[in-house]
Amino acid sequence: MRSRIPALVSIAVVAAVISSLPFVLSDYNVSLVTQVGIFFIAVLGLDILTGYTGQISIGHGAFMCIGGYTTAVMSRDHNTNLIVTMLMAFAICFVVGLLVGLPALRLSGAYLALVTFALAVSVPLLPLKWSSFLGGRNGVQTSQTVSNLWVYVVAWTASAILFVLAWLILRGRVGRAFRAVRDSEIAAVASGIELPVYKTLAFGISAAYAGVAGSLFVLANNGFAAPDEFAIFLSLQILIGAAVAGLGSLWGVLVGAAFVGLLPSVSSGVPVIGSAHGQDVVFGAAVILVMLVLPDGVAGLIARLRGMTRA
């Protein structure tokens, strides 16, 4: 039986660091760490789907888009409490995720990647079509804006809650079923796991996480939701975060989220690279490098290091 104490200690340390950062950092840097928190939620959601259930999605930006617009529209039209709109984003994206998960039942691997990619390109176009309701290219503005600190606190509180939720889901019966589906569908079915139920459930949970992330994403952007924010690049960022994290590790997620959340602004400070789109070059090169050198991402690296210290 492995001791839980080291894990609990590291969680406590991370929590302490994150809650003390706003007192140390400048307002701008606080908003950067907020971005990390938002990506943490999205990457965590994708990890549940891809890392634990073995189903790829290149379309999580679409769910973030839906979540973000939920918050913006509810706030604009009904002045709904922003926290409540986040819960609504969670619920709506859960349902949409289940619906997307249904065709995904018959698909796997390359086909699923195709469908979700097309989804990610399609969804941000819908506000252009229904522009009177969804604001068109000009976007939707929430009725109230919030401070950087507010978003920081809410984003990391939500991260903590969703992290615990993910841990609870994954450690129990459902999580075992997810992993069984990932490792061998045939064996999973033979063990009495109902594939349709668990595959769509994983999609729904994963999409719900992305929805909350999208909602926070809009709030961090001064409560402004516009189609361009949710371009395909966002979906790719989430996938890259999950890849860097190493699929199937809750701890790697923090590193993956920090990678996608911080790299653009860190690299923009470096001469030459910082110019124009140099950061995308770094981004793309970094993820390819990670895939070539660290096949299991940061999580794999941690595991290897642990193995070395024990040996």
């Binding site: 018959r106 390359a110 195709l114 569908e185 045939i186 124009a276 070059v281 390819i288 895939m291």
Partner: protein, 343 residues
């Protein structure tokens, strides 16, 4: 020894033809003939319809060639190359640069195709090969990284603003019985179809093509009869990049400008085309491309579901709907082979 080898190759050729050839059932052919008749009758009755059909065929040829590139890669390595569109965009920028350096359009065109071929081979060897054995997810993530990388490189070197290239076909307009057809569309269609036919001939009639088909369909047996499987797969990627370059170069004049997002919507249409035709069917990809091109063009003009008018913003979502519908009801597409799965 030599005869033994050639007879083995012969039997492989037959099997390869059986595996890679047909697949289109009589019903599919009847449907396609029906579509053709519908388009012909429509074109004879309405000038607008005819013009949209011609334009749709030209655009569809572009989608088809990018779809064919995707299919070649998929057949060779079972990877969907998400960077295929960005790669095509990059090679179009290379052509732009060559023209700026003083080459004529067609000199630049052929130079770009050669560069694309080499680029495709190098990418496969350097980036895809090492992750190929690991998992589909790993390979997909590498192509996603490539997507971001190419996007960054192009924005870095050329910037994100519009660039203009000389038109390869001029601005002449033909008049065929009241229907005006831009020379541009005829040119696009012809160039793409010639490229596709050349690639098809390469696969069908040369020893290299035979080796490539063998390597894609039966890698172990192919290696057994002396086919250098790994090289064949790399060349498959190279040819795909070449076809992508054709698609990019022909997409540019239809958009009238060159910008880094040139191929992003076209990639989705090409996905739809490839899925509609069957992800492992080269002929299906091209036919799928033409079908998608024409129907997207017509649906914007005439399509509405109840009160919902389908406008140009809904073209990409419509392509998404096609992908989902095909995968739900006929996952193997019009010409693909049914994938046999355990479970």
């Amino acid at each position: 020894m030599a005869t033994a080898e050639s007879s083995r190759l012969e039997s492989l050729r037959n099997r390869g033809a059986a595996l890679g050839g047909g697949g289109g059932t009589p019903i599919v052919i009847v449907i396609l003939v029906g579509v053709a008749i519908f388009l012909l009758v429509g074109s004879l009755r309405s000038v607008t319809f005819a013009q949209l059909t011609v334009q749709g065929l030209a655009l569809g040829a572009v989608y088809g060639s990018l779809a064919l590139a995707l299919v070649l890669v998929y057949r060779a390595t079972r990877v969907v190359n998400f960077a295929q569109g960005e790669l095509a965009m990059l090679t179009t920028y290379i052509a732009y640069q060559l023209i700026k350096w003083g080459l004529s359009y067609w000199e630049a065109f052929f130079a770009t195709l050669a560069i694309a071929l080499v680029l495709g081979i190098v990418l496969e060897l350097a980036l895809i090969r090492p992750v190929l054995h690991r998992s589909v997810i790993a390979a997909v993530i590498v192509t996603v990284g490539l997507f971001v990388l190419i996007d960054g490189v192009v924005n870095w070197i050329w910037g994100g603003d519009f660039k203009f290239m000389p038109s390869p076909f001029g601005t002449k307009i033909y008049h065929v019985g009241g229907v005006s057809i831009a020379r541009l569309y005829v040119g696009m269609f012809v160039v793409v179809i010639i490229s596709v036919l050349l690639v098809w001939a390469l696969f069908r009639f040369t020893k290299l093509g035979l080796g490539m088909r063998a390597a894609a369909l039966r890698p172990a047996e192919a290696a057994f009869v002396g086919v250098r499987v790994e090289w064949m797969l790399a060349i498959g990627w190279g040819l795909a990049a070449l076809l992508g370059a054709v698609a990019g170069l022909m997409a540019e004049p239809s958009q009238f400008t060159l910008e880094p997002t040139l191929m992003q919507p076209i990639l989705v249409y090409a996905f739809a085309a490839a899925v509609l035709g069957g992800l492992d069917s080269p002929a299906g990809a091209v036919i799928g491309g033409l079908l998608i091109g024409v129907s997207l063009n017509l649906v914007v003009q005439y399509g509405h579901i109840g009160p919902l008018k389908i406008t140009s913003e809904l073209q990409t979502p419509a392509a998404f709907a096609v992908i989902v519908a095909v995968l739900l009801f006929k996952p193997s597409g019009l010409f693909g082979h049914q994938e046999v799965r355990r479970v």
